[in-house]
């Protein structure tokens, strides 16, 4: 067998240290790109880099092979510097076929590297990619890029020519060849991938050995060909001391819920109906039943929320996870949660809408649904994690607020956070905020009255004077029998009441209770000076891109500060003063302008929208451009080139 090492050896490949890089693996849905990307991520974690990832895959499980709409991608941004986003522009694109090149080439920076599987550029491949009349390998399509042509399929078959594996099995391992090459190109260790393969295919020795062989061959091939030119090194990041792991947002939500259960002593009941991209929370949390977590795959979205509320009535912490269309179906039940004042956490992994919309693409377009989307006056707190790891803390906070204030809470994450991952500093359990839950178990003078028949009767709507929360007395507790329901409640007694003054009073009490959540949330962090000409104010998953953009602009001496909302509704009490310190407020959102409507309703200030509604997260440069534009409009000076 002729091995690549017999060909020209390029021992003079230059080695260069770089602060950061962005790599994008792209291929067919069946090419194993998510797996390849995950393994590169793991190797980068082992190289002690800070990192952020973003998978981008089609809604179809196996879209027709070779087509542009069947392209699945995994983007990874890693560095020795702080990494806030999965990367604006791609430094290395690995394109497993023609369609992948066509879809993702526009994302590669000029001068960037493109590694191509030349075996997947046959006339048929080009036709499938709607490139019938083009010849991208030879025309000017790739002009200005550094191209590495690799016959991935051929080389993989050669590497495995002495095995008994079928052609299909052989071809399936070509992603390991690409992984081996790219790991070498960025001086990543091979060992994490090796041990993963050993574990994954432990009971299938032939497949295991094939994958290990191809991985090594890939790395070896990269070392020996001249086309690579430069090998990169990315030094360990100077991260805060602690123990780290990579965590995906969906995983982090599940862990946050388990942590809430463990710290509060409550059982968590997670009711859910499968929906993209929220199902991964159900998958993750159902693994942790030994923490007393009950999971229930309901018959539909309504049953999921109904069961969660029922569980809360029974003294557990009811949680349900879904996406926008599912929240729409749960709306009536969430209103019942508001009326019965039971704890409930609704996780919304937002996706592009309206209707079925873009199931696998992120968007922040459910904010107004979360804040206002129920019949009647039905306010509830809305939280929004800012990064995959932050999903842990905000899920925990959602549980804490739901039980402290006896209210449904909406947690607005999105597919970008849910599927994306980052290097996450694992919290010390003892440093988590205390989570005390008090359920009422005995009658007292304050919570009892004498009813119309002269019998003692529990008062389910007597309120805590600080939080305005009503008592949580669960069925099975003697002497505290009471009825809840969706009909308007009489103050204190909870009896059905159609009294006009009582209705107004109860509407205002429920609103005031939700408003009081602002008492127990941390101050809103501000990056940069607290006064100035421009503040960038975002919420939720856009934090990484905003931080990155503000950092770049400030480096270029543009006067700009940033504040970010994770406690979105009610608006934090300190926000008025923060906004007051600036002439203009730029509000970037992945929607057509939703937070900005809430802000304009609450504050008198010059709010400038920045909206992106493409099913993709912000790139930092887009926000930089908007910052510069807003700054120039204010000062009349020309833009600082970025």
């Amino acid at each position: 067998m002729t091995t690549p090492s017999d060909s020209a050896h390029s021992s003079d490949t230059a080695l260069r240290s770089i602060p950061e890089a962005t790599v994008l693996f792209a291929g067919d849905s069946g090419d194993g790109m998510q797996l390849t990307g995950s393994q590169f991520t793991l190797a980068s974690a082992h190289a002690r880099n800070d990192l952020a990832t973003l998978p981008d895959y089609p809604a179809e499980i196996r879209a027709p092979a070779g087509t542009t709409y069947g392209v699945s991608g995994f983007q990874l941004h890693f560095g020795t510097v702080d990494i806030n986003t999965p990367g604006d522009k791609v430094d290395l694109l690995v394109a497993m076929n023609a369609a992948a090149l066509k879809v993702h080439l526009p994302r590669v920076r000029r001068g960037g590297t493109v590694l191509l599987n030349t075996d997947a550029f046959t006339p048929r491949d080009l036709e499938l990619a709607d490139w019938e009349d083009a010849d991208p390998l030879n025309d000017d399509t790739l002009e200005g890029y550094h191209v590495i042509d690799v016959a991935l399929t051929t080389l993989t078959r050669e590497a495995l020519s002495d095995t008994d594996l079928s052609k299909k099995q052989v071809d399936r391992s070509k992603n390991m060849f690409a992984l081996g090459m790219t790991l070498w190109m960025y001086s990543r260790p091979l060992e994490p991938a090796r041990s993963w393969i050993r574990e994954k295919f432990g009971d299938r020795p032939a497949i295991r050995e094939a994958n290990l062989t191809v991985l090594e061959k890939g790395a070896h091939y990269a070392e020996t060909i001249e086309a690579i030119g430069v090998r990169y090194e990315v030094d360990p990041a100077s991260m805060k001391p602690g123990t780290y792991r990579t965590v995906r947002g969906a995983e982090a939500v599940a862990l946050g819920l388990v942590a809430a259960a463990a710290q509060s002593g409550l059982s968590v009941f997670y009711g859910s109906y499968p929906i993209t991209p929220a199902s991964d929370i159900l998958h993750e949390i159902s693994k942790h039943k030994n923490f007393g977590v009950a999971t229930f795959q309901a018959e539909d979205e309504i049953a999921a929320v109904g069961s969660a509320i029922g569980a809360s009535f029974g003294g557990a912490l009811g949680v349900c996870g879904t996406s926008g269309p599912g929240v729409a179906l749960k709306t009536e039940a969430i209103g019942l949660g508001v009326m019965t004042e039971l704890p409930l956490v609704v996780v919304n992994m937002q996706r592009g809408g309206p209707s079925t919309g873009l199931p696998t693409k992120p968007e922040q377009s459910d904010l107004l649904q979360a804040v206002y989307g129920r019949n009647g006056e039905a306010p509830l707190p809305v939280l929004a994690p800012a990064s995959p790891g932050d999903c842990f803390y905000m899920a925990y906070e959602a549980c804490r607020i739901a039980t402290t204030y006896m209210t449904p809470v909406m947690l607005l994450a999105d597919g970008y956070l849910g599927n994306g991952s980052e290097a996450w500093r694992i919290p010390d359990v003892d440093t988590l905020p205390p989570f005390e839950v008090e359920q009422t178990t005995t009658p007292t003078d304050a919570n009892m009255t004498t009813d119309g028949d002269g019998n003692p009767q529990f008062l389910p709507y007597v309120r805590n004077s600080d939080t305005l929360a009503r008592p949580w007395a669960v069925p099975g507790t003697p002497e505290l029998e009471h009825r809840l329901g969706g009909l308007e409640k009489e103050h204190k007694t909870g009896n059905v009441s159609y009294d006009p003054a009582n209705h107004e009073r109860m509407v205002k009490l429920r609103a005031e209770k939700v408003q009081r959540v602002t008492q127990t949330i941390p101050p809103t962090p501000v990056t940069g000076p607290r006064t100035g000409s421009l503040l960038v104010l975002g919420w939720g998953s856009t934090k990484g891109a905003i931080d990155e953009a503000v950092r770049r602009c400030r480096e270029q001496d543009t006067a700009v500060s940033a504040a970010h909302l994770r406690y979105v509704w009610p608006l934090p009490a300190d926000l008025a003063a923060i906004i007051d310190g600036f002439d203009r407020v730029l509000v970037p959102e992945l929607n057509n302008g939703q937070l900005i409507r809430l802000l304009r309703d609450a504050y008198k200030a010059d709010f400038v929208p920045l909206n992106k509604i493409q099913g993709r997260p912000f790139r930092a440069e887009e926000i930089c451009a908007a910052i510069n534009e807003a700054t120039n409009e204010a000062t009349g000076t020309p833009a600082v080139a970025s």
Binding site: L42, A45, H46, R48, P192, G242, T243, Y244, R245, V258, A259, G265, L266, S267, F269, G271, H288, K289, N290, F291, G292, A294, F296, E299, I302, A303, G306, S307, A308, I309, G310, A311, S312, F313, G314, G315, A316, G318, T340, I426, V437, E438, Q439, T440, T441, T442, T444, G452, D453, Q457, P475, G476, P478, E479, E481, R483, G485, G486, L487, V496
Partner: protein
């Protein structure tokens, strides 16, 4: 006499920090153990230590009907069949060996939905059609509770049809009381999914077109483990059916023919009226031949078809009649389908009953099995799962 606090711990302060799995406050046995599996179709007592009526709040005095009546004015229309159902339930509960604080009524929307407000127990008036979903979460959170679902024909079979069938197939240990009046009452008189074809109502001035559901057949089709039918005008039978439903471990589906005297008066009079009841209603009993009309008529099997036969003319006798076996699924389907045969009487009683593990019991068994295998979870260990790396300070 049993100590009324024995099942509830002895918390002396006002609050407690919740601990342990749902139901842990009653260490008597595993979830679901309160309703022993055998003997099948019996009325075996669940907690023999508590004589009927001695559970819960009253500190040892036997509970009475009054203990289960709330102070709220009952607002159903005068003459409504719901009154009889409410009174029967309030009479039944003191006879059951269940602590008052463990009884919960969960209802949906409609006239029947108001039921929990009139019971001095725990209760929740939920949203239209969804009562089974709330009951599912509640029962899973605390399997020790005695959960009753109160619903109507529109609530259970129209807007809530999906939840009803899934409740039945899961076999959650709960009782479903379906008040069937074959009309929409609270919205003032539109036809319902159980109204007969051609029903003229406000919404169907030229007659309704859709074929009605037969609730019993729906429940049997959804694999309910207990299916029974009764009527508001026979409180004694109704009470025995409620009791049988209660004693069944699993989803007990009880259809109650309930007269709406405002919008559909007399819908069931042929089965309930003194003059016609004997001929038109057949009360099944386990192990007894199927007879009606005071024993003058019976049902026999002609191939796979039920046939009504005259037992007075010497041609047929009681020994020719089908002997009812409520554990026989095929027989249950035959009786369920008598609904479609106007020449046959309508069967009442426990039409089907079988034993099957309950959902909440299996849920907690699974949790306990995982706990036994892996031990109670340690959060710090969980957070450190997978590949980690440490940055030194």
């Amino acid at each position: 006499m049993a100590d009324s606090t024995s099942s509830n711990g002895t918390a002396s302060d006002n609050t407690k920090k919740p601990s342990g799995p749902p139901g842990a406050k009653k260490p008597a046995g595993p979830p679901g153990a309160k309703k022993p599996a055998g003997p099948p179709r019996g009325t075996s007592p669940k907690k023999p230590t508590l004589p009927p009526g001695y559970g819960g709040d009253s500190g040892g005095d036997a509970l009475t009907r009054k203990d289960f009546s709330s102070d709220q004015d009952v607002r159903w229309c005068p003459g409504c069949g719901d009154y009889a159902i409410l009174a029967t339930m309030q009479r039944l509960l003191p006879e059951l060996d269940v602590a008052k604080e463990d009884v919960v009524f969960i209802s949906g929307i409609g006239c029947a939905g108001r039921f929990p407000y009139y019971m001095d127990t725990y209760g929740m008036h939920t949203i239209h059609g969804r009562a089974p979903t709330f009951a599912t979460g509640l029962k899973c959170a605390n399997p020790e509770l005695d959960v009753w679902i109160v619903t109507g024909d529109g609530d259970a079979l129209s807007i809530g049809g999906n939840h009803l069938i899934h409740l039945c197939r899961r076999n959650l240990d709960t009782q479903v009381l379906l008040f069937n009046n074959e009309i929409y009452g609270l919205t003032k008189g539109q036809y319902s999914p159980t109204s007969e074809v051609g029903k003229v109502t406000k919404s169907t001035p030229h007659g309704s077109l859709d074929r009605p559901f037969n609730p019993v057949a729906v429940a049997l089709g959804a694999d309910a483990s207990f299916v029974a039918r009764t009527m508001d005008r026979d409180p004694k039978h109704m009470k025995s059916m409620m009791k049988a439903a209660h004693n069944h471990a699993g989803t007990a589906f009880l259809e109650i023919y309930q007269n709406c005297n405002i919008f559909n008066d007399g819908a069931f009079f042929e089965f309930t009226d003194r003059n016609t009841k004997a001929d038109r209603a057949l009360f099944v009993e386990d192990g007894a031949p199927l007879t009606f009309a005071d024993g003058d008529q019976g049902l026999r099997l002609d191939g796979l078809t039920l046939e009504a036969v005259d037992l007075t003319n010497g041609r047929w006798s009681v020994s020719d009649c089908l002997v009812y076996d409520s554990g026989n699924r095929e027989m249950a389907h035959l009786l369920g389908r008598m609904f479609d045969q106007p020449d046959l009487p309508r069967p009442f009683g426990v039409l089907y009953q079988t034993d099957r593990p309950t959902y909440e019991q299996q849920l907690h068994e699974q949790i306990n099995a995982v706990r036994e295998k892996r031990g109670a979870g340690d959060l710090q260990t969980l957070l450190h799962q997978g590949d980690t790396w440490t940055i030194e300070g």
